[in-house]
């Protein structure tokens, strides 16, 4: 049973928390995870199979069996080219989850597929091949080798693959430039600032040219300003290369900023999976609602949600907002003109936003008839 359906529609009539499910099936997923469990403790493998035990919550499970379920029955797809964010507080199982993807932590039950190939069935050499070429990871505390220079750290993944010294250093130098560390090739990690070290970590992952980049809370250990720089670096890299990314974070703002889709985890389960707008606009339960309460909604919600659907009828579209413009932009347009603005896609008018609807979105009030139905 998928976790995605659990919170659906319980207290949220008309909620669209699971709309992503339907679209998820269409693309060709890079990672496809289904019914994944990771249980730590004695006789861990018996827990996922036993419906009586799976029904228990974390504390009861621990007292009954001495086991801790870090990841419980998690299913999701990571689509090609998207930034998939897994977000949750500490102890929610998100770091364990990302390690299960390349079996740095061995999952207890469930299936993981990368490009349709079963990861859990891979033998040792196949798994090494996966780690060497297809998925590279960036770590919270960088995980750099202190006795090597920046260049040799970046080239390390290539060295592991058995690539010759000259070739790997040439390729590493390119990546070092790409992450903005030129001139520091001969320094050691100990001589770098935190932000620079994480750039080295990022470069090391990029150097092997992986299909997927996995980030495990990469910026949590950095100062806020450096963190913002690094987030922008990731956005830039993603825009330039379109690489698929799985990004773990405990920072909601980071998740909203980077994520195409966000999976929100609590106690090992995904409580909601959707676009930032879906998470903020229609929280699946009270936990999520509490979580997103302080998010400036005008910066997340799009006019597609805010508009009253239906053609305005006029040939000219005053204001002419794009459908995925955020509400904050619409407010500027509407307040400047003093009139409702049209939402336009491919030259057609999808709907109209006026100041009342925009205010409703900002205030978090229910919209009478959302635009979602029209999508």
């Amino acid at each position: 049973m998928s976790t995605l359906s659990t919170p659906n529609g319980l207290d949220e009539p008309g909620s669209s928390a699971t709309t992503s499910m339907s679209t998820g099936a269409s693309g060709n997923p890079v990672f496809s995870v289904d019914g994944l469990w990771k249980v730590f403790g004695p006789k861990a493998d018996q827990v996922p199979a036993d419906p009586e035990l799976t029904a228990l919550d974390a504390a009861e499970l621990h007292t009954r069996t001495g086991c801790t379920a870090a990841v419980r029955d998690v299913s999701f797809d990571v689509r090609k080219g998207e930034v998939f964010v897994v977000m949750g507080l500490s102890g929610s199982g998100k770091s364990t989850l990302v390690r299960c993807l390349t079996r740095l932590i061995e999952p207890t039950a469930g299936t993981i597929a990368i490009d349709g190939e079963d990861v859990r069935a891979m033998d040792k050499s196949r798994l090494r091949e996966l780690r060497r070429h297809r998925a590279a990871m960036v770590f919270q505390h960088f995980g750099l080798l202190p006795h090597r220079t920046v260049l040799d750290n970046v080239a390390y993944g290539l060295e592991i693959q058995g690539i010759g010294k000259a070739e790997r250093r040439r390729r590493a130098a390119e990546v070092v430039t790409k992450v903005g560390l030129e001139g520091m090739e001969q320094r050691r990690p100990g001589q770098l600032s935190g932000g620079q070290r994480q750039r080295v970590g990022l470069a090391r992952a990029l150097a092997v040219d992986p299909q997927v980049l996995l980030f495990d809370e990469p910026f949590s250990a950095l100062d806020p300003l450096i963190r913002r720089d690094m987030q922008e670096e990731v956005v830039r890299l993603h825009r330039e290369e379109g690489r698929t990314m799985v990004f773990i974070t405990h920072d909601l703002n980071e998740a909203l900023k980077l994520g195409d889709r966000i999976a929100l985890m609590r106690d090992g389960r995904i409580v909601q999976l959707g676009t930032p707008e879906e998470i903020v606009g229609s929280p699946a339960d009270d936990y999520v609602r509490e979580f997103v309460r302080d998010v400036p909604r005008a910066d997340v919600m799009t006019v597609r949600t805010a508009m009253r659907p239906g053609d305005c009828g006029a040939s000219e579209h005053p204001g002419a907002l794009a459908a995925d413009a955020v509400v904050a932009e619409a407010i500027k347009v509407v307040s400047r003109s003093g009139k409702p603005a049209c939402v336009v896609e491919d030259g057609h008018c999808l709907g109209v936003v006026d100041h009342a609807r925009l205010l409703d979105v900002v205030a978090g009030a229910e919209l009478a008839d959302t635009g979602k139905g029209a999508v």
């Binding site: 390690r99 390349t102 740095l104 798994l127 090494r128 091949e129 996966l130 780690r131 060497r132 070429h133 590279a136 990871m137 770590f139 919270q140 505390h141 960088f142 995980g143 750099l144 080798l145 202190p146 006795h147 390390y156 993944g157 060295e159 592991i160 693959q161 050691r188 100990g190 001589q191 970590g201 090391r204 092997v208 996995l214």
Partner: protein, 651 residues
């Protein structure tokens, strides 16, 4: 008001009973109440009951005789021990010949060049001066003998230790099996290792080298394991995430990350090997240790000092150079290709110097260049004997002090311990060990103590124990006071640091020389040597423990207006408790090691038995004493072993 009394029924127990230590003591008292009358009824005697001893001297003597008879015929000796023995003799001989062929100038040049490469110009000069000083004191040949033995022993120790450490670092199960053994080996006095080796190999160089290896390999093994296990898990995870094979992981990440610990292991192994190589003079190691041993036997302080100074110089130089190698930061560690060449230059320069000196015909240390310090030193000692030993107005004299210490402290403690019924000694041991540690440590301690009784050396062991207790008490009083002073004042710490550094590098044996000069021979000098030897470690651990107390806690106390005495009593000492307990533990272990060696200068008891056994070829007596030393070491370590140390190891 009424609410306060509400939960009363559960809390009505007296506060003492809720304390864990009190619980343990109560349980123990209960057990004692049942067992003691039983034991007393069967074997009522103050000393260990005769009925409970096992006389091992017969079987041990027979085993010794069998080994002597079969050394040349039994296949075990012919094809196993014989080969080991021959290999050791040959390699020591080979190294010795190489050192002689290099001549004094070649060895000095090589030492200085190595020191220069590893640790810079200042240590290079120091190394050169130290070697020249050895020659100047007329000790060049013994120094080379000791060095040759050291080279072979250290290389073997490092290989054995690194392999064991690698096994422990890579396999959890091996680690769990090895760790208690290595831990125990580290607390045993050096003397305990000599006798079993002599039993198999007889007195001579092979026995000395092997005893040294057994003594010096554990730190290498421990630190290798530690280095491999303490690698930053996230780095290793990152290495895994890039698809490294097991071998790549070991060679490119785990070993380089453990570099610091590996070099520290090398440092400790060298220092332990030097310490043991000197003590092993008792079983025929020759070299500097032998000179000290012979000189001490005839109370010739001057000659002992002439051989002792090279030992100290060697220790300081070896320690500084290897420590400097370990402290080289990651930044300065260059490419492997670039470090090889300077070494070749150093080797070339050595050969060149050696050839030049050989051509000049000055291969041996020129006899005209020696400085005889033995006579002037002996004159000073004679003067001291005449003027300082006794009769100094108001102060008494050193011999008087020693006498008083023996009469008023050592004798009462020894007589008191020997007067105590044997079961009460066991009870005290159990109570102490259990309160400080766990029931496991208490059990080990009691069993070790009982084993001493069974071996039939109850009385001499208690004699040794009395010396240990007296020395530990003095050490702790002085050590804690100095440690507190050093922790509170940067100036005191700065002044103490070089002294402590030198003291901690010196081999145990060397401490006997000044003590004999000051106090003559007897039990008090042995205790004094033990105190001097153990003091630096206690001071250092105390200072570190007090300085590492959470500054936030201290600051909050200051902000509440605590006086410095209050800060010390209420914040620093309680928070530094683990460090203080560790200091006690280390103090006890170190004191025991020297009190045993004190057998050489009239300390009597177990140490004397061991030396006597070796000197007279009466290995049965020696081995029983050795076993008792092991038991005493185990007991003292376990009694003072804080729970924290145990739990940390489990993690």
């Amino acid at each position: 008001m009424a609410t306060v009394t509400a939960p009363a029924p559960r809390l009505a127990l007296p506060g003492v009973l809720r304390h864990r230590a009190a619980h343990k003591l109560l349980l123990l008292a209960l057990a004692a109440a049942i067992l003691v009358p039983l034991a007393n009824a069967h074997w009522a005697s103050g000393s260990w009951p005769q009925a409970l001893t096992v006389d091992l001297s017969g079987p041990l003597g027979r085993a010794n005789d069998w080994i002597i008879d079969n050394r040349d015929s039994s296949p075990l000796f012919l094809y196993f021990f014989g080969y080991i023995s021959n290999a050791v003799v040959l390699s020591v001989r080979a190294v010795y010949l190489v050192l002689l062929a290099a001549g004094w100038a070649g060895v000095t040049a090589f030492g200085a060049l190595v020191a220069w490469r590893v640790a810079g110009i200042r240590l290079a000069i120091g190394t050169g001066v130290a070697f020249l000083a050895c020659g100047l004191l007329g000790m060049w040949v013994p120094t080379m003998q000791t060095l040759a033995l050291m080279v072979v022993a250290v290389l073997t120790s490092v290989v054995v230790g690194a392999l064991l450490g690698l096994a422990g670092g890579l396999s959890e199960r091996t680690d769990r099996a090895l760790r208690p053994v290595l831990d125990t080996m580290q607390v045993l006095p050096a003397f305990a290792y000599l006798l079993p080796v002599v039993l198999v190999f007889g007195i001579g160089v092979p026995a000395a080298v092997l005893a040294t290896v057994v003594y010096a390999a554990p730190p290498m093994a421990r630190l290798t394991t530690l280095g491999l296990r303490n690698a930053d898990p996230e780095v290793l995870e990152a290495v895994d995430s890039l698809g490294a094979t097991g071998r790549q992981r070991l060679l490119t990440a785990r070993l380089p990350l453990a570099r610091k610990q590996l070099l520290l292991g090398l440092n400790q192994t060298i220092m332990m090997a030097l310490s043991m190589a000197v003590i092993a003079s008792v079983i025929g190691a020759g070299g500097l240790g032998d000179r000290v041993y012979q000189a001490l036997a005839s109370v010739d302080v001057g000659a002992a000092l002439a051989a002792g100074i090279p030992i100290v110089l060697l220790a300081v130089v070896l320690d500084r150079v290897t420590a400097a190698a370990g402290e080289q930061t990651d930044e300065s560690a260059g490419e492997p290709g670039s470090t090889l060449r300077p070494w070749l230059y150093a080797l070339g320069a050595t050969v060149a110097v050696a050839v030049v000196v050989r051509l000049a015909g000055a291969l041996d240390w020129p006899s005209g260049w020696t400085l005889n310090i033995a006579e002037p030193v002996n004159r000073v000692v004679d003067w001291m004997t005449a003027h300082l030993y006794s009769g100094v107005p108001y102060l008494g004299g050193t011999a008087d002090w020693a006498g008083h210490f023996t009469t008023w402290v050592l004798d009462p403690v020894r007589d008191g311990l020997q007067w105590l019924p044997w079961w009460s000694v066991l009870l005290i041991v159990a109570a102490l060990a259990w309160v400080i540690g766990t029931w496991r440590t208490a059990l080990t301690a009691v069993l070790a103590m009982a084993a001493i009784g069974v071996l039939g050396v109850w009385k001499p062991s208690l004699d040794t124990l009395s010396q240990v207790l007296a020395a530990v008490a003095v050490t702790l009083v002085l050590g804690f006071a100095t440690g507190i002073a050093a922790a509170r004042s940067d100036r005191v710490e700065r002044a103490l640091r070089p002294v402590l550094d030198v003291c901690q590098t010196m081999p145990q044996f060397v401490y006997l020389i000044p003590v004999v000069a000051l106090f003559g021979v007897g039990r008090a000098p042995a205790v004094a040597a033990a105190v001097v030897y153990a003091l630096p470690a206690v001071v250092r651990i105390t200072t570190q423990g007090l300085r590492q107390v959470d500054p936030a806690a201290l600051e909050s106390a200051r902000s509440l207006g605590a006086t410095s005495a209050q800060q010390l009593r209420q914040i620093q000492l309680p928070l530094a408790r683990p460090a203080l307990l560790l200091a006690v533990n280390q103090g006890v272990v170190l004191v025991l090691a020297v009190v045993i060696i004190g057998g050489l200068v009239g300390g009597g008891a177990l140490g004397y038995d061991a030396v006597f056994g070796l000197a007279q070829g009466d290995l049965a007596t020696g081995l029983v004493a050795g076993a008792a030393i092991v038991c005493l070491g185990l007991m003292l370590d376990r009694v003072t072993q804080p729970t924290e140390r145990r739990t940390k190891k489990g993690a």
